[in-house]
Amino acid sequence: MKYWVKKELKPPHGKVYIIKDRCKGCGFCIEFCPQGVLQESEEFNAKGYHPPKLVETDDKKCIGCGFCSLICPEFAIHIEKEEEEKDEKAD
């Protein structure tokens, strides 16, 4: 489907940072991410758990809601919101 608008609305975007060694494998972030951005990885961290990784190779689908970092009991994940700088300046 195609919108008839000149300027498409762009969803906000977040960059996901995972501090692997802090993770204790609870999987909360994977469970609660509304966009399904995260999944369990195969690798082991220093504590012997599987830390989360991105489902796709990049975090395109992340909308930066920050829910993962809010829910993570070990502060192992945090988000940096990307500002829509270009659009703002163009206006």
Binding site: M1, K2, Y3, W4, V5, K6, E8, L9, P11, P12, F32, C33, P34, Q35, I63, G64, C65, F67
Partner: protein, 645 residues
């Protein structure tokens, strides 16, 4: 019991007397036991005819009267009110010797049958009881379902007359389709500009309780006393606290199509359908929101300075009692995917008429610019196809009545936007019957130089950048092939599927187009078969705005007529259950088409007299022969049959 019956045989000009020997009927009846007097007259229903009845009742000391004439549906009321001056009106009966006799039989048979019919009526009359009308109290409050222009107008009219109105609209805002239109034929005033003052008036009116984002889920009861249940869906935004600042919308990460813009413009999960929405507030689309339970996102709540967002809002069921109901649930376009011959659904450059309205609208997705959706460029050749799905046995057989007019408007507005563009209209014939409509069409044809092609389109397909339209011009007999940039389909108008659901709750019929069926197509066009239920706007049939508004005011005046009385008078010819003998089987309860038979706590059936229409279905169905129809008792009917056979 009647002892001195007078029989008045009507000639009805030649309608009856031309076939039935009326003098013989009178003569035979004079000899019949219980009949004290019999005569004939040219037109019993005329003033002199009525006076003859009055005079003879007095002179002959009559205590009951039979009028042998047309159907009681025509004149029972007339003759009963004459008799009411002297005795109980249920001592007046009519024998139908026109529709059921003179119109359908030959001379000799007709006279014999007429005699029998009148004699049978004498027997029925002898068994009649004197009855008093039933009085029903009225809750002077009206429910209007649907907040399009029709529902808005009806609500305002009733509220202005001083009565309370509950206006229920299922969408986030009232306004209906009219809010989506650009400019309106034939005067080309801006649709929003003439609609929004009325929307605001609804919101401000002290007599109107506006329940938007709500649905009627249950209706029971009868005229004067309907009990309705209304489901108020949670908006998750406090209507009163929201300042419509729009900060939440900016913060919300979810982008989905806006239904109001025919899905051609995006909106967020927290949204306002259009800026002038009434009630003026944002709403969270529960389906699209990232998560209310468990709460995951909450970006909007963080952004809202007014603290208007509340994720814990629950659906609420509100119960109300109303005296009358107006259904104004409007229309939809015919399903575009069903028009395979026009290739819809597959091509960006073949669009529907409502999508074109949004394109023309200054607040629409393109800001009022006309574009070819696949490229975003200005279309230089546009083909409009009328009757897309209408007047077509494979789709909808009827005429959608407004498409000729709005297509002319579309072509004219296109030419105003793109003066060097070419516009073609395929039509079967032009139906422009409204006031100043023909003049509007003439103006479009002549001044705007739009090419009207009489004929049907056979095929539409894409060829590179263009849409090729194949048709036949039936006036010249020549084939036409147009390579167009944009094709606009004037889709058939159909009733909404929601109308069908509401109709089911109200026990009202709908036709194949999902339009509500009126009580009488000519004389009762806004009334349902059941009393107290009225129709307005496109829910009843396709129509333009002036017709929708006129019908809304008509429905309102019917409601006001009910509300002008303190009690409703009703015919007492109802079913009576002998409770002692009732076995509680419940057959009558399930069979009554009006829901009038109800089971009491003791298991026995009871007739709610206010609801009963006296159809007699229950009396026939009761296995213990335990239900009696007032003044249609078994003995009466048996005697009538005896006389006739």
């Amino acid at each position: 019991m009647a002892r001195r019956i007078g029989v008045f045989v009507c000639h009805c000009g030649v309608n009856i007397a031309g076939v039935v020997d009326v003098e013989r009927v009178a003569e035979e009846l004079r000899k019949y036991p219980g009949v004290a007097f019999a005569t004939t007259y040219q037109y019993m229903c005329s003033d002199p005819g009525q006076n003859l009845i009055r005079q003879k009742i007095e002179e002959e000391n009559l205590d009951a009267v039979i009028i042998a004439a047309c159907s009681p549906a025509m004149h029972e009321e007339t003759f009963r009110s004459v008799c009411k001056e002297f005795f109980n009106p249920y001592r007046c009966e009519m024998a139908n010797i026109r529709e059921q006799c003179s119109w359908v039989h030959d001379k000799k048979e007709a006279t014999e049958k007429a005699i029998k019919l009148v004699k049978a009526t004498v027997e029925k009359l002898r068994g009649n009881e004197d009855l008093m009308p039933i009085f029903v109290p009225i809750e002077k409050k009206c429910l209007v379902i649907g907040g399009g222009i029709a529902g808005i107008q009806a609500a305002l009219d009733i509220a202005d007359a001083g009565y309370k109105v509950i206006l229920v609209e299922k969408e986030a805002s009232i306004g209906g389709r009219m809010a989506q239109l650009s400019e309106t034929f034939p005067t080309l005033d801006c649709s929003q500009c003439i609609l929004t003052p009325k929307m605001v008036a609804v919101a401000r009116h002290p007599n109107i309780k506006l329940m938007a984002y709500s649905e009627v889920i249950d209706i029971s009861g009868y005229v004067g006393n309907f009990d309705v249940k209304i489901l108020k869906k949670p908006r998750y935004v406090d209507e009163d606290a929201c300042t419509v600042c729009g900060d939440c919308e900016k913060a919300c990460p979810v982008i989905i199509p806006n239904e109001f813009d025919m899905e051609k413009k995006p909106r967020k999960a927290i949204y306002i359908p259009f800026p002038q929405a009434v009630p003026s507030t944002y709403t969270i689309d529960r389906e699209a929101c990232l998560g209310l339970a468990p709460l995951t996102c909450a970006q909007c709540k963080d952004a809202c300075e007014a603290n208007a967002i509340n994720y814990d809002m629950q659906p609420k069921i509100v119960e109300e009692r109303v005296g009358a109901i107006i259904v104004a649930t409007g229309y939809d376009l015919y399903d575009k995917n069903k028009l395979v011959e026009y290739g819809y659904g597959e091509d960006d450059d073949i669009i529907t008429s409502l999508e074109f309205e949004r394109m023309l609208s200054a607040s629409g997705p393109t800001g009022g610019e006309i574009i070819k959706p696949s490229t975003g460029k200005v279309p230089k050749k546009v083909v409009f196809i009328q009757c897309a799905g209408s007047r077509d046995k494979q789709h909808m057989p009827y005429c959608s009545s407004i498409c000729c007019m709005y297509t002319a408007k579309h072509a004219l507005l296109y030419k105003h936007h793109v003066p060097d563009g070419e516009a073609y209209i395929f039509y079967i014939d032009i139906r422009a019957t409204g006031k100043n409509y023909e003049e509007f069409i003439a103006r479009v044809m002549e001044e705007e130089r739009i090419n009207y092609i009489r004929g049907k389109v056979a095929k539409i397909y894409r060829e590179g950048d263009k849409i090729v339209v194949w048709g036949v011009d039936t006036l010249t007999g020549k084939k036409v092939e147009i390579k167009a940039d944009l094709v606009v389909l004037a889709m058939a108008i159909v009733g909404r599927k929601e109308t069908k659901e509401i109709a089911k709750l109200l026990k009202v019929a709908v036709d194949d187009g999902n339009f509500l069926k009126e009580s009488h197509p000519k004389l009762k066009p806004v009334e349902a078969l059941s009393r107290g239920i009225y129709f307005a706007g496109c829910a009843q049939s396709p129509k333009d705005i002036p017709a929708a508004v006129a019908q809304a005011s008509a429905a309102a005046s019917k409601v006001l007529a009910i509300f002008s009385k303190d009690k409703l008078e009703k015919d007492p010819l109802v079913a009576v259950v002998d409770e002692d003998r009732c076995s509680g089987c419940g057959v009558c309860v399930s069979i009554c088409p009006y829901g009038a038979m109800q089971r009491q706590p003791n298991g026995k059936a009871k007739c709610i007299e206010a609801l009963c229409e006296g159809c007699g279905t229950c009396a026939a169905a009761c296995p213990s022969n335990n239900i009696e129809m007032r003044n249609y008792k078994d003995e009466q009917i048996e005697k009538m049959i005896e006389v006739i056979v």
